[in-house]
């Protein structure tokens, strides 16, 4: 087996979807009672049949999370480096056809942003860009990493998928984690959401986590954009992908996010809505399915929702985020990727976490370790 495509090819979206919707309360009860849970159990837990079991799922999820991760939450913050992008994506504020002024931060501007982020107390940073291979390319990334690597304990990156050799070049510069969201595993409709640009290549994106595994990246972040397609089916494929990766790249850590489509300037409404109850169901299902998985939640979600979710399975959380390059200091009004929902400061979030009997952890890695 060479990569995930080989498995993916044997699967059929419609059949998977039908099998999820065919799960019964008996399947759910089995999934919750058993100790070793399979992908079929995961299907049951994300199926409509599991809705009445939400409270029970939340209890199991909380218990498993505390046992593995303790009463702590990791704090991270995004640093948007650029909103230049040559892709057209129907759901994204950076989409090429969104005719607004673009910006890529210069080294000096990056350091201004870093100063503000450090002042907020952050040691874990997530670098984000759009995809423009003329401005935001491997050499730019190297420069940025070189610039900031000793200012942070842990550096993650959420940029365009790169080649294996490129990832291999970046690890010596202190890159720890790469997030690459498939957006949707529905190959047929992927094209409609990504009509133009390098991102329209479904397979190249699908095989990115394999390249990351081969490159020896410490942590890989997966996810789909919830709202594009049936979230249950997409989540099953994510879990399938994760299970495949865990077995093959056994030295790699994995994390997962659940971005729900947010409004942005010029954007469209989500095609498929997911309500709060369903998101709780999904998060708990992932935790019960995989006790070791890091689950992360951004400021896309509302205050109340986040306040309540930190005890139900989430292990890392961002706060005080800006989703535009220069948002912290240099150019607060530049084009945003999406509107955030929870605008509380990191300090306020830390206080909220403590008030619930959890400890916010700012540093859980060291740039000298690898």
């Amino acid at each position: 087996m060479n990569n995930f495509s080989d498995i993916f090819q044997t699967m059929n979206w419609d059949e998977v979807k039908a099998s999820i919707y065919a799960k019964t309360s008996r399947d759910v009860e089995h999934a919750l009672a058993t100790e070793k849970r399979t992908l079929e159990d995961f299907k049951a837990m994300i199926s409509p049949a599991a809705a009445p079991y939400l409270e029970q799922m939340a209890k199991i999820s909380q218990q498993l999370t505390v046992r593995r991760f303790g009463k702590v939450l990791q704090m991270y913050v995004p640093l948007y480096l650029s909103n230049e992008c040559k892709n057209i994506c129907t759901y994204c504020g950076f989409s090429y056809n969104n005719k607004l002024k673009r910006k890529t931060l210069s080294p000096m501007e990056i350091m201004q942003e870093v100063a503000v982020i450090k002042e907020m107390g952050y040691e874990h940073v997530l670098l984000v860009t759009g995809e423009d291979n003329e401005t935001v390319h491997i050499d730019y990334f190297k420069k940025v990493l070189e610039l900031i690597r000793f200012h942070f304990a842990h550096i993650s990156m959420e940029v365009q998928p790169l080649d294996l050799q490129e990832y291999e070049q970046l690890t010596p510069y202190g890159l720890n984690t790469v997030l690459v969201y498939q957006e949707t595993y529905n190959e047929r409709d992927y094209k409609t959401h990504h009509p133009k640009g390098k991102k329209s290549n479904f397979r190249y994106r699908l095989e990115t986590p394999d390249r990351l595994g081969q490159a020896g990246i410490h942590k890989i972040g997966l996810g789909v954009l919830i709202g594009l397609e049936d979230w249950r089916t997409d989540s099953f494929f994510t879990a399938l992908h994760l299970s495949y990766l865990e077995k093959k790249y056994w030295q790699t850590k994995y994390s997962l996010s659940f971005p729900r489509l947010r409004p942005f300037s010029g954007g469209l409404e989500p095609k498929v809505e997911m309500n709060d109850r369903e998101l709780v169901q999904l998060i708990c299902a992932y935790r019960i399915f995989n006790e070791e998985l890091e689950l992360s939640m951004s400021t896309r979600e509302s205050e109340t929702f986040r306040n309540n979710m930190i005890k139900l399975g989430i292990t890392s959380i961002s706060a005080g985020s800006k989703t535009n390059p220069g948002g912290y200091a240099v150019e607060p009004d530049s084009l945003k990727q999406f509107e955030i929902s929870d605008e509380r400061s990191p300090e306020k979030i830390a206080e909220m976490i403590r008030s619930q009997g959890y400890e916010p952890v700012w540093k859980d890695w060291d740039n000298s370790l690898a």
Binding site: V72, A153, W250, E292, G357, E359, K363, D366, L369, A370
Partner: protein, 255 residues
């Protein structure tokens, strides 16, 4: 009294610092445990400026020695580097060697651990390696200059107790260095059991940190470890596993 390298311990309960809901609660629990050796993940500490580090400042007590650990490293090379860094930052040559390249079950890598122990011992470190309950590996580590061995009782953080009991007994029976049962101890009864079979100490973290009342639980572990040790020293009465036949099987020899 337990002696590891040049240091004596009156408490045989070693503890960890992870997973607590606050540093204050951690401090209170560790004080209640009576623990004199407390492990700290290097990655959690501000190595450059540890004077101001929140975690470290809650561990500053006369009777507590810090045992930095290398959690997060994936091979011997990274571990040796981390140990040197820890020595510099925390001013101790004690190191809990944790090399678990597998982030899912955090299983220790025996090959890299042996290599790192060899090198660190040469560099003058007091090495306490976290390992599988593998009797042969324990002997190899002794040859490599380890100061103790820390076999697991069950997967780390699992609270499953002493799943490796048969191998722990072999290790204890043939070890020339202190044996500290690390990982998996979920309840005070597990800790007592480990002490009863002759372990020199146990290391407990999760079972205290995520319990309903960490301070009470720390006290419970303290008492269990003391009771278990006392029982070991008093020599347990041998268990009788089968009935004694009423007419002796060998009496014909004396007829």
């Amino acid at each position: 009294m337990l002696k590891i390298a040049n240091k004596s311990f009156s408490s045989r309960l070693f503890t960890g610092t992870g997973k607590f809901s606050s540093c204050m609660l951690m401090e209170e629990a560790l004080l209640a445990s009576g623990s004199e050796l407390v492990t700290v993940a290097l990655k959690r500490v501000d190595v450059k400026n540890n004077e101001e580090d929140d975690l470290i400042s809650h561990l500053k007590h006369q009777h507590i020695s810090l045992l930095p650990n290398t959690s997060g490293v994936r091979n011997a090379k990274e571990a040796v580097f981390a140990a040197k860094l820890a020595r510099e930052a925390l001013e101790t040559n004690w190191i809990k060697l944790e090399i678990h390249p597998d982030p899912k079950y955090l299983m220790p890598d025996p090959i890299e651990t042996l290599l790192a122990t060899e090198e660190l011992a040469k560099l003058g470190f007091i090495v306490l390696p976290y390992i599988h309950a593998d009797p042969v590996l324990c002997k190899r580590l002794e040859d490599a200059g380890t100061s103790a061995v820390m076999p697991l009782g069950a997967p780390i953080g699992s609270n499953k107790g002493l799943k490796t009991i048969d191998f722990l007994e072999i290790i204890i029976s043939q070890s020339n260095v202190p044996v500290i049962v690390d990982a998996g101890i979920g309840a005070p009864s597990d800790a007592a059991w480990a002490m009863e079979i002759g372990a020199d100490a146990v290391l407990v973290n999760t079972a205290i940190a995520v319990s309903g009342d960490p301070v009470q639980m720390a006290k419970a572990f303290k008492m269990a470890v003391e009771a278990g040790r006392m029982a070991f020293e008093a020599k347990l009465a041998a268990g009788v596993t089968h009935a004694v036949a009423s007419s002796p099987l060998t009496s014909f020899l004396y007829e």
